[in-house]
Amino acid sequence: MLNEIVEILGREWRDVLIQSGIELRPPLSILKIGNDELTRRKVNLLVFNHHEQQPILILRLTQIDEQSSFLEREYETLCKLAKHESLASSIPHPLGLLELQGTLIVVESVVPGVSIFLYLHRRKHIRPFLVKQDFELACDFLHELERVTMDGDLPFPDAGMVQDKLEQLCVNYGSTGIPKDYQEQLLKIADEYRSLRLVRCARHGDYWPGNFLVSSGRIGVIDWEGFTYPDDLFHDIFFFTSTYALFYPWHGWGSCSPEEAFSLGFIERNWLSARIKETLERFFLKLNIPPRAMCLLFILFLIEMAIPSAIKNDPRDPPQHEKWFSLLKIIAQSKNPFLAK
């Protein structure tokens, strides 16, 4: 199939690509990337021009209907976002859709850079100034996404909504995993801040260090399949900081369980947990959300991650709900949950 795709690109897409500033120089080579954990899989193909160091195109393909709808959503999303000049250089440029023998192929330009996840995995981004830089870049992009997609506001979650979420947890897991006094504290915070409003804007939906690329002076944000609009913004920043803590090499090349990594990032006192806290507080203060209200939003984020089908367009496969439920319990049952202070 790869040879057929290459032929079609050279024959039928030449003009479309040239209009987007992309020139194919055959013979083209293709590098395939896929994940082994997934049963319903998408495959990414990077297309290289002859003797060029950077791939010129990325082809995202799937043969599964459910995954096709994710890819089509990503394509539509990118078409809309590419109109905003301030975002266009940081996201893949959507070039078209192609169907070949029951396979949907989304053709996009390649955003240069290496993912922050890879830098963490290679133990390269471990120093405080680099971590600070990563957080600042991630926050700046989200604020820009918020600015260009802002559309009114949403009410702050009230006590009724919080109670409803806790009941959904009970239905799924038999108990909330959250001590009674902590639940009461959450309801009290909801009541206290019921007059607050949240910005209604776009949500990336899978904003983790693996989808955030950095290169000299540039950033790139990829994988827009989980995009929802309109929604709230807090999910993305919480997901970014939580997954950053989960993938941070806390013990160098030694292993670290997700539970331990999460505790180190959100409960224990250390420079990185302090940086996470500072980043989140600063991010939310820009949106006029005080730290106590942010704490409630963080718990609601964890609950949302733990409840199956609570997240619209959730692109994570296989599902990770149980992992997030265990992380929620760690925060709620901790004697010193750092956000609650």
Binding site: M1, L2, N3, E4, S29, I30, L31, K32, I33, G34, N35, D36, E37, L38, T39, R41, V43, L45, L46, F48, H51, E52, Q53, Q54, P55, L61, Q63, Q101, G102, G113, V114, L118, H121, R122, R123, G252, W253
Partner: protein, 216 residues
């Protein structure tokens, strides 16, 4: 010998072949996710061997019919490459496609392998391409597999040095400190034409020559 079930990544090998619904395809070796996806896609799949332990005489005794459009051998597991390829070419139609994976005898990682992995038959890319050509195949392309031949999550075109370089700069995820330390060496080797030694396995896509190819 324990049979490996085959990974989901192994099922991606199908993208390397020009498959069309209704075609016949033979699979040699155990590759269940691959086989089930091929069947879902409307291909008629014949298992040429579901057991790695069978002697060659049984494996090659499946038939002598040149009626298959494609053959996939995700992991070649016999010592006698030449005679196996001769039989495989007899099962394929003229112009039919073969995708075959080999453990790399030139791999840098050989000293790191566990004992049972060390005992697997290994071949060099050059030896394989020569044997394929001798058996009436034309090699179309070849890819290095990462991380393992049984689990080819990433397929890297070995004839494209910049692509190999890109892989080691932007995709490669070392699982240990020692492998991380190998990264600069990998980049050096990739850029000096020794990229074939950087992968534990490789897959080759080849086409059985037709009478017309011979005449030309």
């Amino acid at each position: 010998m324990n049979l490996t079930e085959g990974s989901y990544a192994q099922a991606d090998l199908r993208f390397l072949l020009p498959l069309t619904a209704g075609q016949s395809i033979g699979v040699l070796g155990d590759a269940r996710p691959l086989v089930s996806i091929l069947e879902e896609n409307g291909l008629s799949v014949t298992s040429l061997s579901s057991c790695l332990d069978q002697p060659l005489s049984i494996v090659v005794g499946v038939g002598n019919h040149a009626d298959l459009d494609h053959i996939i051998v995700p992991e070649f597991f016999h010592d006698s490459l030449g005679s196996c390829l001769t039989h495989i070419s007899q099962w394929l139609k003229p112009g039919g496609w073969l995708l075959i994976g080999f453990h790399n005898s030139e791999s840098l990682y050989r000293p790191l392998l566990k004992k049972d992995a060390k005992n697997k038959p290994r071949f060099s890319l050059r030896k394989c391409t020569r044997a394929l050509e001798k058996s009436g195949f034309r090699v179309v392309c070849y890819y290095g597999t990462y991380d393992k031949l049984q689990n080819p999550r990433v397929l890297i075109p070995l004839d494209n040095k910049p692509a190999v370089d890109y892989f080691f700069r932007s995709i490669y995820t070392p699982i240990s400190r020692s492998l991380a330390l190998l990264q600069p060496l990998a980049l050096l080797l990739a850029n000096t034409g020794f990229q074939r030694v950087l992968f534990r396995g490789f897959v080759i896509v080849a086409r059985r020559e037709t009478h017309r190819d011979h005449a030309e």
